[in-house]
């Protein structure tokens, strides 16, 4: 009876996961989708705690430990999730993802222990033939994938918050391949002839997997971490599915596979939005290192503009468009930006923001950033809309954006970003670009826009430049 109800709980869980994910992919329903999935998860968890019975019909025990763990994890989780800064979200997701991976790996380890004890006391007859084979395979796979996901996520987290630097050395990819190969060999070796004397080799699997996870993420540029996290996310999904297979548990199986598949597609979509391939991101030969940066500065003549001239140009314009980019985010200048906007609006200047989908370092970065500074949504134009509006714009103020306004994406088929849709700021009458130097951005390539007659450079940190602009505009 209880088991039957549990089955239904699990079915509800699986269905809510599918519905939730579906709703999450649509802006209008996303938040409700998250809630629905969370509800389904709660039902599945509570069902397991109270209704689960093992093969021999015994209920679970150790309720103290279980609730203890849930309370601790819950409190820490809520606090961490509530306290984190908006722009540090990807780090947080990465950390949580690592926890899931570690959890899957731990389950595999405990189950392996359990199995070996059983062998020691009861001999081979416990599990035979096919069953043993798939049982072992899922244990190994869970340990492998879970550990890679855990280690990789921790490194990704460290890179994003600046604790780890990119590390590239010669032969790195070959080393990775060797470690990967070792793990696979180990798994194959341990699959069939399992005896008391080779039990302990098993522990090499999680160990090597941890090493592999670290090696896998280390060479990838810090700016590519959102993509890597999404990939590791789908790995953890597969690890969870292994658990589902192990316990014959449909909700784990379906939930895990769902995330595995959706995560993989999402990773690919993310790469596409930046006009890159997944391979390109993983090999890590673009971005991060800014290796092509050296070529910068040789593009021709550019002209500078003073802060007061810029303030005059904007103060007397009819329509100003602000293009925020990664530089605005690092300078944490969103509040100053909003202040300038309000000031200009008081002077009857129409101010809008042009939001490129991959401006910044994570999808939706600019929306989140500006929402944090209370910029009203009506002012945020999506790319297509903005591109129509530039034609009637007097002044464009580019704040720490670079690649997303690089005309090479349209004109230069040899450019690595060729084909990426961009914000066509040249259509406006005047373009003012704020950055600290002539150095290139994320893609490490030069920007011809800076050398065009319409363009003026306004060097300096985004925040301090904005503050100067504010005081100048006030004095107009």
């Amino acid at each position: 009876m209880e088991l039957n109800i549990l089955t239904i709980c699990y079915l509800i869980g699986s269905v809510t996961f599918i519905l939730g994910l579906k709703m999450l992919s649509n802006p209008a329903t996303a938040r409700r989708g998250n809630l629905i999935a969370a509800t389904g998860m709660t039902i599945a968890i509570l069902g397991t705690i109270f209704l689960y019975k093992d093969d021999e019909g015994k209920s679970l025990h150790n309720y103290g430990w279980i609730f203890g763990g849930i309370v601790i994890g819950g409190i820490v989780g809520v606090l961490a999730a509530k306290k984190v800064k908006m722009t540090a979200m990807p780090e947080m997701v990465s950390l949580f993802n690592g926890m899931g991976g570690a959890c899957a790996a731990l389950i595999s380890i405990v189950e392996f222990n359990h199995l070996t004890e059983n062998f020691a006391t009861n001999g081979w007859q416990v599990l035979t033939g096919e069953n043993l084979f798939s049982h072992l395979l899922t244990i190994y796979a869970g340990a492998f994938i879970g550990c890679v996901s855990f280690a990789g996520s921790i490194i990704a987290w460290g890179k994003l918050n600046g604790s780890f630097k990119d590390l590239t050395f010669k032969g790195q990819h070959i080393l990775n391949l060797i470690v990967f190969f070792l793990i696979i060999c180990l798994i194959i070796l341990l699959l069939t002839p399992l005896f008391a004397d080779n039990y302990n080799f098993f522990y090499l699997i999680p160990l090597l997997s941890l090493v592999y996870g670290v090696l896998f993420v280390l060479p990838i540029g810090g700016a590519d971490m959102p993509v890597v996290i999404s990939l590791l996310n789908s790995f953890t999904g597969v690890a969870a599915a292994c658990g589902g297979f192990l316990y014959n548990n449909q909700v784990m199986l379906t939930g895990g596979i769902l995330v595995g598949a959706a995560g993989t597609l999402l990773t690919i979509l993310m790469c596409k939005a930046m006009n890159r391939s997944l391979g390109n991101v993983l090999i890590g030969n673009f971005g991060g290192g800014n290796s092509a940066a050296a070529q910068g500065g040789s593009g021709g003549q550019y002209k500078e503009i003073s802060v007061s001239d810029a303030a005059v140009a904007m103060g007397y314009a009819r329509k100003v468009m602000i293009v925020p980019g990664y530089g605005l985010a690092v300078a944490q200048a969103q509040h100053a930006c909003h202040e300038l906007e309000k000031l200009l609006e008081e002077k009857d200047v129409e101010v809008k923001y042009a939001i490129h989908p991959v401006a910044g370092r994570m999808p939706g970065h600019m929306n989140v950033l500006l929402a944090e500074a209370d910029v009203s949504y009506d002012k945020l134009l999506e790319m297509e809309q903005a591109n129509d509006d530039f034609k009637t714009t007097d002044v464009v103020l580019v704040l720490g954006a670079n690649d997303v306004v690089n005309p090479a994406a349209k004109n230069d088929p040899s450019s690595p970003i060729y084909g990426m849709p961009i914000l066509e700021v040249e259509d406006a009458k005047l373009v003012i670009i704020n950055k600290r130097s002539m150095k290139p951005g994320y893609a490490g390539i030069e920007n011809q826009l800076f050398f065009q007659p319409k363009t003026s450079m306004l060097f300096g940190d985004a925040k301090s430049v904005l503050q100067q602009l504010i005081s100048e505009v006030k004095n107009l």
Partner: protein
Amino acid sequence: MNEVLSWISVHEQYIYIVVLMIFLGIEVIGRVPSVLHTPLMSGANAIHGVVIIGAIIVMGKAESDNYIALILGFLAVILGTLNVVGGFVVTDRMLEMFKSKNKAQKANSRKLSN
């Protein structure tokens, strides 16, 4: 070869569920706009926290003298809960940022359809 085939046959329904789930995973997020990539990633992250169910089972089945299982299981429960709870809360916070956006969008589309 033969073994693999019979393995497939024995687990036929599992394989169906897995295959269908893969299709569904791909279909379901097919047309997500790129601003939603981060919240979607985060939501998916919370969903794979379902692995906590495995941790609860491990924990609940551990004999009370099996300290390794108890400790590892306890750790697994904590980590799994972190993943689930943190994941959903973080996603919700992110999506809160987009709230005003939706309202405005709805208003817009209402305007258009009239």
